[in-house]
Amino acid sequence: MFDGREIRGFAGDTVASALLADGEPGGFVSPMSRRPRGVYSSGVEEPNAFVEVTAPWFEPIRPATMVNLVDGLTVQSRAGVGILPTTAVAPRPARHQHRHVETLVIGGGASGRAAATITGGRVLIVDEQPVVMDPPPNAATLTSTTATGIYDDGYVLCYQRDGGTDVFHHVRAARVVLATGAHERPLAFVDNDRPGVMLASAARTYLERFGVLAGERIVVFSTNHSGHDAAGALAAAGAQVVVVDPATRTGPATERLRAAGIEVRLNARVVATDGDPALTGVTVSAADGQRTAIPADVLAVSGGWNPAIQLARGLGIGLRYDEQKTCFVHDGSGPEWLTVVGRAAGNVPASFPLWVVDEGDDHEKYVELQRDQTVADVAEAVAGGLTNAEHVKRATYIGTTIDQGRTSGVLTAEIVNRLLGWAPGAQGPTNARPPYTPVPFSALAGPDSGPILLDPIRVTPMDAWHDAHGAVYENVGQWKRPRYFPRGDEDMGAAVARETRALRTGVGVLDASTLGKIDVRGPDAGVFLDRMYTNRMSNLRVGSIRYGFMLGLDGMVFDDGVAMRLADDHYVCTTTTGGAAAVMDRFEEWLQTEWTDLRVYCTSVTEQWSVVAVGGPRAREVVAAAGADADLRHDAFPFMTLRDGTVAGVPARICRISFTGELSYELHVSPWHAQHVWDSVMAAGEPFGITPYGTEAMHVLRAEKGYVIVGQETDGTQTPEDLGMAWLVNTGKGDFVGKRSLVRSDMLREDRKQLVGIMTDDPARVLMEGTQLIADATIPDPPAHMLGWVTSSYRSEALGRSIALAVVEAGRGHIGNEIHAVAGNETVPCRVADPVFYDPEGTRRDG
């Protein structure tokens, strides 16, 4: 269906060829001036005939010359501009495919096929047409496939659409042959945009490929022998043909036409067209100025040929002007692996140098059909001082079209040259960049779209349990971690209050499997870790655990975690969930580039171990009931030590680490056993009311203790000293990454922002994270002096009020002082506090 009217065609027809076969050259309008327009070309250079496809797929705009007929196809004409639907539509399904070949031939015409035949190894021919004739037996072919861009080292993207699913091919070729042919150029004359005016090559293509004779009375306005040859073919098919040739002398093509009885008017030009609106006749001016009218229903125009080397221009190849052919051809430069052959290499007909017919009003001579831009518009841009074709393009929008200026680019450049009094070819067309033809975003995305596949979702072995128990998730890097486990109609606040209460008064369990883990081995492991962390790790006793900071070279906190010493030459270091890969990269970078003498190897074991963290005053009883074979009593198993043993009948590394301030045991177990251990802990904890908790409760619990989260309290501008953790920095142990930066004058400034607690005067008021802090209750006029900002803010169940952490200028010197938080146009009165809100003596940690 075209604009609600049924059209029929044959297999292989395009919407454009079917319309022409239906005797309908027009049916389109231009976007700005709403002038009637018709099919102008037979390929990607189409500037007039655009359609919206609504069935069997949706596409807002596409050239009618590039839409193949299929059963049930429904299209509407579009005036050069697509309209996005207001409701969601299913995109064309698309997938990607990577292919590697020794030779990729772009273009399956005679030159491309010849190049493919003489090459060895894997050969691939891609062509934008649905058929490649007689492909060489040694070559694979992809039809209906457009090479949309050539990139470094023979990487070529090809977009294929000939079936139900679009395929975006990523081709890597040792050699690329560009056999992309050439595009015919129109001429600028009065009313050259009327339906019925088309490129001569298009008229010939419709005849020879689609069996459609576009008109009965055809005038061919041609500067070169290809237009003449088209005239001969059209006449042979039964059309009445007159050729208008600006050349003064006859040539072989003219002689051939005259021998066939076809009228050729030399030294003549088309100066106007008539029609209502479709073409009914053309006015031709002879050398002596005499005008004659010729009835015609098609005016076929050939103003010369432009080699189609847009794809290679992205590689920085050069162009030179060829005076005989009146076009820009490849100057032979470019990468060694690229070969240009055939018409793309400049094997195009010589052409009489004509771009604009002088007679008539320049406002009626169209240069860029899709943007309704005329010779007068170009002249206006030049009169405004623009001399560069790139500037004229941006002033007129010529060449910013779907066809990317294929018909208008060289013509525009030559008009500019002429207006400036420059020689033809003084400057060439604007640059060409990928994509060669438009590519839908849906094809670029391929399957990597939607909530499941847009980005990997990483889950732990206990994820199915979390999901079944109503977990509300939080994204932590690519991980999905349970944020809280609501019961009944609990909101987050109620769930987190219950979960934190369980931790402080009973027992809770957290899936901490996402923590990064790096196995560090070798005789120099201790030396290496001393250089990576701010504190000493080499004197850690086997079986013990130590918390540490890693700094950037700038002295700022980069990541934190613990080092567990398993043997003299063996540690496992934990990292933050989001920092695992970055820390591993940093370890390898220093070992591989700076300290190649250190006998140390690092291996990522993040997923070798799942972690079930049991915490709370009853944790010891629960871990014992879950079948831990270790002596869990504090004297036998002190804080920050570990035991390798078993829990629930499976091997487990039990670590006494606490991120909550409560007695805690982290059970590091095989992921294959993780659900078993989790289930065992839940069963053992049932009499104690064990409560699974999520990251939000964890955040509240650690904030009550003033424990920082790298990336929440820090943003890459905090030193250990800023965080009140200078005790973690051992400057006596030798060098470590970031050490030298810690004594820069800026690091020693007394007004650096320091980590503090913030208590709102109103205990019910919970500040927004990111809230700015100022000295006075009234907000001063800008620029207001901002003392710092809130980094974490929660309601604390244990304290029965709100708490916040913040970084504040010289904050530790202001503890107890008044400060004001900015909330919109108001301020909230607060006091600066010690960041450790709960159990500052640490009495709860050992149970």
């Binding site: 890597r172 990597d448 990997p456 072995p461 991980w479 190897y601 009948g649």
Partner: protein, 172 residues
Amino acid sequence: MVDVRSPLAHRAAALATINAVEVPFLTQIDVRCGEAEAARLGFPTEPNTVTGDMARGALWLGPDEWLVVAAPGDPSVVADGLEALLMDTRHAVVDVSRNRAVIELHGPGRLAMLASACSLDLDPAGGWVPGVCAQTLLARAQVILQELPDATRVFVRPSFADYLVDRLLASS
């Protein structure tokens, strides 16, 4: 009764639709050592190749890194054996059996399916034949690929395994 679960046990039906199975509980040992020691152990020194057989093979991962893959069993037996052989040399032997899930793809279309999400040359004509391996990205997951006679193994971090199955289903 200990409930032992492999990372993709719950995706067996989905994997079957793309002619794939999980190979669970393989022993995997990461070995770091010098090339001379590796050659002495029979490890490949040609990049991206594999020596050994299904019972026990060694995949080249880097100039000083190999992955020993053996039949399911107690990984510490394999690791201790390697430790003994590498004693007194600069080395590391780390059990990573649980650090990667293993998917085995069958059928003639398996390489085209992988090539829909992997930029390497996975064509036998380009050298992708039994006995080769590679570390690469499959869609957005880091993987090790290993070509076997009539099958391809994909080693992937378990946390990415569900994503990878979904992604392969989408492109099959």
